[in-house]
C-alpha cells in the first residue's frame, strides 16, 4: 500500500497537498485529448519564441544610438491627399481580430456537426488570414520602396528595419502556416473525415493556434506601431 499510503492521506489533508494529490492522481493531468494538450504546450513554447523576439526588439531599440523613426509617420498612408497615420495597420488588425470571431463560430458549428457551415467559416477565416498576409506584403513593398532595408533605412535607426522585417515576417509565416492548416482541416471536415468518430476536436485545436497567432499580433501591434 505504500504508494496509496503516500497519496491518499494527503487527499484528506486538504489545502495545498490535496490540490497536488488531486491533480497528480488521474491518468491524465488534463481532461483533454492528446492533440489539444500538445497544442497548448506548443503554444506555450511559441510564446517564449515571440517573447524573446519582442524582448530583443525592445533591447536594441534602447541600445541603438540613432533616433527611432516615428511609427505614426512611417506607417501612414496618403489617401485622397490626406496622410492618415496607422490606417493600414488598423485595417489589418481589424481583419485579423474579425477572423478570430469567424474561427470561434466555426468551432461552434463543428461541435454541432454542421459540416458545411463549419468548413465555410473556416475558409472565411483562412481568407481573412490570407488577406492579412496580402496587406502585409503591400506594407513591406511600400516600405522597401521608401528605402527601408533590414540593414538600414533613411528614417533613422537601422534596427527599425531589422526588427520590423524579422518580427512581422516571423508572424506572417505563422499566419500563412495557419491559413494552410485551416484550409486542410476545412477540406477534411467537408470530406466527412471526422464523421466516423464524430470527433471535431481538431477544429478547436486549429482554432487554438489561430487565436494564438491573433493574440501575438496584438502585442506586436502595441509594441511596434503604438510605441
Amino acid at each position: 500500500m505504500s504508494a496509496i499510503a503516500h497519496t491518499d492521506p494527503n487527499a484528506a489533508a486538504g489545502g495545498w497537498r490535496s490540490v497536488v494529490a488531486d491533480w497528480s492522481g488521474d491518468r491524465q493531468a488534463f481532461q483533454v485529448p492528446w492533440g489539444k494538450a500538445m497544442m497548448w504546450i506548443f503554444l506555450l513554447s511559441d510564446t517564449f519564441v515571440f517573447s524573446c523576439f519582442l524582448t530583443g526588439y525592445m533591447a536594441v531599440r534602447i541600445t541603438t544610438t540613432a533616433p527611432w523613426p516615428n511609427p505614426s509617420e512611417v506607417f501612414a498612408l496618403t489617401i485622397g491627399g490626406q496622410s492618415i497615420p496607422l490606417i493600414l495597420i488598423a485595417i489589418m488588425t481589424f481583419i485579423l481580430i474579425t477572423s478570430s470571431g469567424t474561427m470561434a463560430m466555426a468551432v461552434n458549428y463543428a461541435y454541432r456537426r454542421d459540416r458545411v457551415r463549419s468548413a465555410a467559416l473556416m475558409i472565411v477565416t483562412a481568407l481573412f488570414g490570407a488577406c492579412f498576409v496580402g496587406m502585409q506584403a503591400f506594407e513591406w513593398t511600400k516600405l522597401i520602396h521608401e528605402g527601408v532595408r533590414p540593414w538600414g533605412n533613411p528614417m533613422g535607426a537601422a534596427q527599425f528595419g531589422s526588427t520590423f522585417f524579422m518580427i512581422t515576417g516571423f508572424h506572417g509565416l505563422h499566419v500563412s502556416a495557419g491559413v494552410i492548416y485551416l484550409l486542410t482541416v476545412a477540406a477534411r471536415v467537408l470530406a466527412g473525415r471526422y464523421e466516423q468518430g464524430g470527433n471535431y476536436q481538431i477544429v478547436e485545436i486549429a482554432g487554438l493556434y489561430w487565436h494564438f497567432v491573433d493574440l501575438v499580433w496584438v502585442f506586436i501591434f502595441a509594441l511596434f506601431y503604438l510605441w
Binding site: 488531486d22 492528446w34 540593414w151
Partner: protein
C-alpha cells in the same frame, strides 16, 4: 480512486485512435529506418548521438595534445585549436548530451516506464529524429567547407563570432547557427511528445507521484527544453541576419583592422542574455535526467526505496523553475549592471538547496542498503562524487567576488566539466549498463564494464582535479599556447602534460565501452526479463526486448510506487509496480504499522 476510474473510460476511448495505433511494420525499412516505434527511434537517436560524441571526444584529445605537448602535432594551429574548442563544446552539450538524454533515454523509457504503448504522436516522433539527423549533418558539414567550422567558442559571442579574424566566419558560423535552429525544431517535436505522453498517456494507476524519478527528470527537462530553446532559436536567427543580411542586432559600431564597419547600435550583451537564458536551463536539461536516472539506479542496486521520494520530485520541479532565473551568473564580467550580479548570485545560491536535498537523499538511500556494486551502481556512486565536487565549485563561481578573479581560467573549465560534462556522462554510462539488457536482451560484459568504469572515473579526476589548481594560478582558458606568460610557473606545463596523458588514456578507454556495446549485443550473457530485480514497469514487459506495442494484449495496471524494495515480509526483495496490493496481504506495510514506519 473513483477519480481515476472516471478518467479511464475517457482515455480508453481515444487511446485506440492515437498512440500505438500505427500498424505494426513488417518490412525492413519501416521497421528499422522509417520507424515510428519509440524504441527504434530511441536507438537511432542514441547511436547518432554517440557517433557524433566520438568526434567531440577526438577533438578534445587533439586539444589536450596541443596543451600538453605544444607544437607536437603539426596540423594543430591556433585556428584549428579554436575550431576544436567550439565544436567539442557544442557537440557535447547539445548534440550528445541533450539528444541522448531526451531523444535516447526519454524515447526509450517514457512509454515503457509509464505503461504506454508508444509516444502519443509516433509520426512526429519519427520526424524529430530525422530532423535531428539533418542538424547533425549540417553541423558536420562545417568540417568540409572552406574556412572550416566556426572557432568562436561554444558560446558564439558576437561580435567576434561573425567578424574576420575568427576562424570559420565564411561558412562555419552560418552552418553552426543553421544547425542549431534545425536542432531546436527537432527538440521541440520530441519534447512535445515526451511532455504530452507523461501528462496524458499513463497506464491505469500510474499517478504522477508514482512515476519513477527517471521519468520525472526527463519530463521536467523536456519542459525546460521547450521553454529555453526558444531563446537560442531567436538569438540564432538574429545572428544569422547579422551575418547574412548585415543587420546590427548584436553588432555595435566597430573599427576592425583600421576600418569602420557598417554595423552600429546593436547590443552584444543582448546576445549573452538570450544565450544564457537558454544556456543555464540547458545545464539542467542534461542534469535533471541524470538526477532521475541516478535515483533509480541507486534505489535498485542498493535494494532500498529511494529516500524522500516526494522531496526528490519537488526538488526536480524547484530546480527546473529556478533554472530560469539564474542565467546572468554566467555574465558577471560582461559589463552588465552590477546590481544584477547581486540578484543572480542570490538565486544561484538558492538553487543549491534543492540540489543538496537530492544529494543527501541519495546518500540516505545508500545508508544501510544492500548495496550491489554492479557496473551501473559504480557509475551511480561515481556520479554523486563528481557532482558534489562540481556543485561545490559552482558555489564558488556563483559568488560575484569569487567569480571575477576566477573568470575565464581553468577553474571554470574544471568546474563545468565536473558538473555538466563528467557527471551527466557517468549517468549516461550507468544508464546504458543498466538498461542495455532490456534493449538487447543481453548483459554487457561485467569485467570490461569495470575496466571501463575505473579508468574513466579515476581518469576524469586525474584530468580535472589539477585544472582547479591551474585555475587558481590564473591560467586562462581557451588559449592555444602558454609560452611567455610570466605569471604562469614553468611547472604548470608539467601538470598540463600529465592531464593530457590522462585524457588520452580515458579517450582510448572508451573503445573498451564501444567494443562491449557491439560484442555483447550478439555474444553477451542472456539477460532475461528483469536481471536487476527492478520494480519499474519497463522490466515487466511480456517480451525482452519489448515488441511493437510494448505490452502485448493488455496494458499494465499500476498498484504501487516505483520503490518497493526490501519490503518487510515480502517473499522477494522487490515488488514490481504492477503487482496488486492484495496478492499477499502480509507484504502490505500498512497492515503492520511497525513495518510501515521502517519503510517510510
Amino acid at each position: 480512486m473513483t477519480h481515476a476510474d472516471t478518467a479511464d473510460s475517457h482515455t480508453d476511448s481515444h487511446t485506440g485512435s492515437h498512440a500505438g495505433s500505427h500498424a505494426e511494420p513488417h518490412s525492413f525499412w519501416t521497421k528499422y529506418v522509417w520507424s515510428q516505434d519509440h524504441k527504434v527511434i530511441a536507438i537511432q537517436y542514441s547511436l547518432t548521438a554517440i557517433a557524433v560524441g566520438l568526434v567531440a571526444l577526438v577533438l578534445s584529445n587533439l586539444m589536450r595534445l596541443q596543451l600538453g605537448f605544444p607544437g607536437a602535432v603539426s596540423f594543430i594551429d591556433p585556428a584549428s585549436y579554436y575550431q576544436y574548442v567550439t565544436m567539442h563544446g557544442m557537440i557535447m552539450v547539445i548534440y550528445l548530451l541533450t539528444a541522448l538524454f531526451l531523444g535516447g533515454f526519454g524515447n526509450y523509457l517514457i512509454p515503457l516506464m509509464v505503461g504506454a504503448r508508444d509516444m502519443v504522436f509516433p509520426y512526429l516522433n519519427m520526424l524529430s529524429y530525422w530532423v535531428y539527423l539533418l542538424a547533425v549533418v549540417v553541423l558536420m558539414a562545417g568540417f568540409f567547407v572552406p574556412g572550416g567550422p566556426t572557432g568562436a567558442g561554444w558560446t558564439l559571442y558576437p561580435p567576434q563570432a561573425i567578424l574576420p579574424g575568427t576562424p570559420g566566419t565564411e561558412w562555419g558560423i552560418v552552418l553552426m547557427l543553421t544547425s542549431l535552429v534545425i536542432f531546436i525544431v527537432a527538440a521541440t517535436m520530441g519534447g512535445l511528445n515526451y511532455v504530452t505522453t507523461v501528462l496524458q498517456a499513463r497506464a491505469r494507476g500510474m499517478t504522477l507521484l508514482r512515476m519513477p524519478l527517471t521519468v520525472w527528470g526527463i519530463f521536467v527537462a523536456s519542459i525546460l527544453a521547450l521553454l529555453a530553446f526558444p531563446a537560442l532559436f531567436v538569438s540564432g536567427v538574429m545572428m544569422l541576419f547579422d551575418k547574412l543580411l548585415g543587420t546590427s542586432f548584436f553588432m555595435p559600431a566597430i573599427v576592425s583592422m583600421g576600418q569602420t564597419l557598417e554595423h552600429s547600435g546593436g547590443s552584444p550583451v543582448l546576445f549573452q542574455h538570450l544565450f544564457w537564458f537558454f544556456g543555464h536551463p540547458e545545464v539542467y536539461i542534461v542534469a535533471l535526467p541524470a538526477f532521475g536516472i541516478i535515483s533509480d539506479l541507486i534505489s535498485t542496486h542498493a535494494r532500498k526505496n529511494i529516500f524522500g521520494y516526494r522531496m526528490m520530485v519537488w526538488a526536480i520541479v524547484a530546480i527546473g523553475g529556478l533554472s530560469f532565473v539564474v542565467w546572468a551568473h554566467h555574465m558577471y564580467v560582461s559589463g552588465m549592471n552590477p546590481y544584477f550580479g547581486y540578484f543572480f548570485a542570490t538565486t544561484t545560491l538558492i538553487i543549491a538547496v534543492p540540489t543538496a536535498i537530492k544529494v543527501y537523499n541519495w546518500i540516505l538511500t545508500l545508508w544501510r542498503g544492500d548495496i550491489h556494486l554492479t557496473v551501473p551502481m559504480l557509475f551511480a556512486i561515481a556520479f554523486i562524487s563528481t557532482f558534489v565536487i562540481g556543485g561545490l565549485t559552482g558555489l564558488f563561481l556563483g559568488n560575484v567576488s569569487v567569480d571575477i578573479p576566477l573568470s575565464d581560467t581553468y577553474f571554470v573549465v574544471a568546474h563545468f566539466h565536473m558538473v555538466m560534462g563528467v557527471s551527466p556522462i557517468l549517468a549516461i554510462f550507468g544508464g546504458i549498463y543498466h538498461w542495455y539488457p532490456k534493449v538487447t536482451g543481453r548483459m554487457l560484459d561485467e569485467t570490461l564494464g569495470k575496466v571501463h568504469f575505473w579508468v574513466t572515473f579515476l581518469g576524469t579526476y586525474a584530468i580535472y582535479f589539477p585544472m582547479h589548481y591551474l585555475g587558481f594560478l590564473g591560467m586562462p582558458r581557451r588559449y592555444y599556447a602558454y609560452e611567455g606568460y610570466e605569471f604562469i610557473p614553468a611547472s604548470a606545463q608539467t601538470l598540463n602534460a600529465f592531464i593530457t596523458v590522462a585524457a588520452l588514456i580515458v579517450g582510448v578507454c572508451q573503445l573498451v565501452f564501444l567494443f562491449n556495446l557491439a560484442w555483447s549485443a550478439f555474444r553477451g550473457k542472456p539477460a532475461g526479463a528483469n536481471p536487476w530485480g527492478a520494480t519499474t514497469l519497463e522490466w515487466q514487459t511480456p517480451d525482452t526486448p519489448p515488441k511493437h506495442g510494448n505490452w502485448g494484449a493488455e496494458l499494465p495496471v499500476v498498484h504501487r510506487w516505483a520503490y518497493d524494495y526490501s519490503v518487510p515480509g515480502a517473499e522477494r526483495d522487490f515488488i514490481p509496480q504492477n503487482v496488486p496490493q492484495s496478492v499477499s496481504p502480509s507484504e502490505a506495510p500498512d497492515a503492520d504499522p511497525a513495518a510501515w514506519e521502517g519503510h517510510a
